[in-house]
C-alpha cells in the first residue's frame, strides 16, 4: 500500500467539488460560506502533494507554503463573510 500524487489529487478534487456543491446548494448564504474552507483545503492538499511527490526544481516547500497561506486566508474570508452578515438582533 502506498500513496502517490494521484491519490492526493483525488482527495483534493473531492474536497473542491464538495465545496462547489455547498456553494451552490445551500439556501442560507452564511452556511454557503463553508464552501471556502472546503475548496481552499482541497487546493492545499493538492499543493502539499505536489511538494511531497513532484517538486523537482526550485524551492521544494513551495506547496506547503501555499497550503499554509490558503488555510489562513480561508479563516480570514470566513470571518469577513460572517462579519458582513452581521449579528442576530438582541432580544
Amino acid at each position: 500500500m502506498t500513496v502517490g500524487l494521484v491519490a492526493t489529487f483525488f482527495v483534493g478534487g473531492g474536497l473542491i467539488a464538495a465545496g462547489c456543491f455547498a456553494a451552490v446548494w445551500r439556501r442560507d448564504l452564511t452556511a454557503a460560506l463553508a464552501s471556502i474552507p472546503l475548496m481552499f483545503g482541497g487546493a492545499g492538499v493538492a499543493f502539499a502533494g505536489v511538494a511531497r511527490f513532484a517538486a523537482a526544481g526550485g524551492p521544494q516547500l513551495f506547496g506547503q507554503e501555499f497550503a499554509v497561506v490558503l488555510a489562513i486566508a480561508a479563516t480570514a474570508l470566513v470571518a469577513l463573510g460572517l462579519g458582513i452578515a452581521g449579528r442576530v438582533a438582541p432580544r
Binding site: M1, L5, F21, V24, D28, G41, F53, V69, V78, A85
Partner: protein, 162 residues
C-alpha cells in the same frame, strides 16, 4: 512512503471527506461547525502524512477557528434569492467538475521527485516564508489583516445601526 504513513493518509482522507460532506449536507449550525472541525482534523492528518507538520498545525488551528465561528449562534442567516433550477444546475456542474478533476488526475503524467525535507520542516518552511517569499507573505498578511479588520468593523457597525 511506508505502509503506516499510507494507512494514515487514507484514514485521514476518509475523515476529511466525511467532514466535508457533513459541512455540506448537515442542517444546523452546531453540526456544520462540528463537521468543519472534523474536516480540519482530517486535513491535519493528511498534511502530517505528507511530511508537512507545520502546515498541519496551522491548518488545525485555522479550521478549528472556522468551526467555532460557524457553530456560533450569533451571526444572522441570509436567504439566497436564487431559484431551485439554478441550484440544481450548479449541483450538476459541481459533479461535472469532480469528474473532470478525477479524470485529469487519473490520466495525467506527473513528475516523480525525491523529497528531502523532514516531517515537520519548520526551519526550511520559515526560510521560504521569511527569506525567499518575504514580500509575498507580507502582502498576504496585509490582506488578512484588512479582512479581519473589515469583519470586526462590519460586525460592530451593524450592531450600532440597529
Amino acid at each position: 512512503m511506508d505502509s503506516l504513513h499510507a494507512i494514515g493518509f487514507y484514514a485521514s482522507s476518509g475523515v476529511s471527506l466525511a467532514g466535508a460532506l457533513g459541512a455540506t449536507l448537515l442542517p444546523g449550525r452546531d453540526l456544520r461547525g462540528a463537521s468543519l472541525g472534523v474536516l480540519g482534523i482530517g486535513l491535519a492528518g493528511i498534511y502530517l502524512t505528507l511530511s508537512a507538520g507545520l502546515a498541519a498545525l496551522v491548518v488545525l488551528i485555522c479550521y478549528l477557528g472556522c468551526a467555532a465561528m460557524f457553530a456560533s449562534p450569533q451571526y444572522r442567516p441570509l436567504e439566497a434569492v436564487v431559484g431551485g433550477m439554478w441550484r440544481q444546475a450548479g449541483a450538476i456542474a459541481a459533479a461535472v467538475l469532480l469528474a473532470l478533476l478525477v479524470y485529469s488526475a487519473f490520466r495525467g503524467d506527473f513528475v516523480h521527485a525525491t523529497f528531502f525535507g523532514g516531517t515537520i520542516g519548520a526551519a526550511n518552511l520559515g526560510r521560504v516564508f521569511f527569506a525567499h517569499d518575504a514580500l509575498a507573505i507580507e502582502a498576504v498578511a496585509l490582506i488578512v489583516f484588512a479582512a479581519l479588520s473589515g469583519a470586526g468593523a462590519a460586525w460592530y457597525a451593524r450592531e450600532r445601526g440597529r
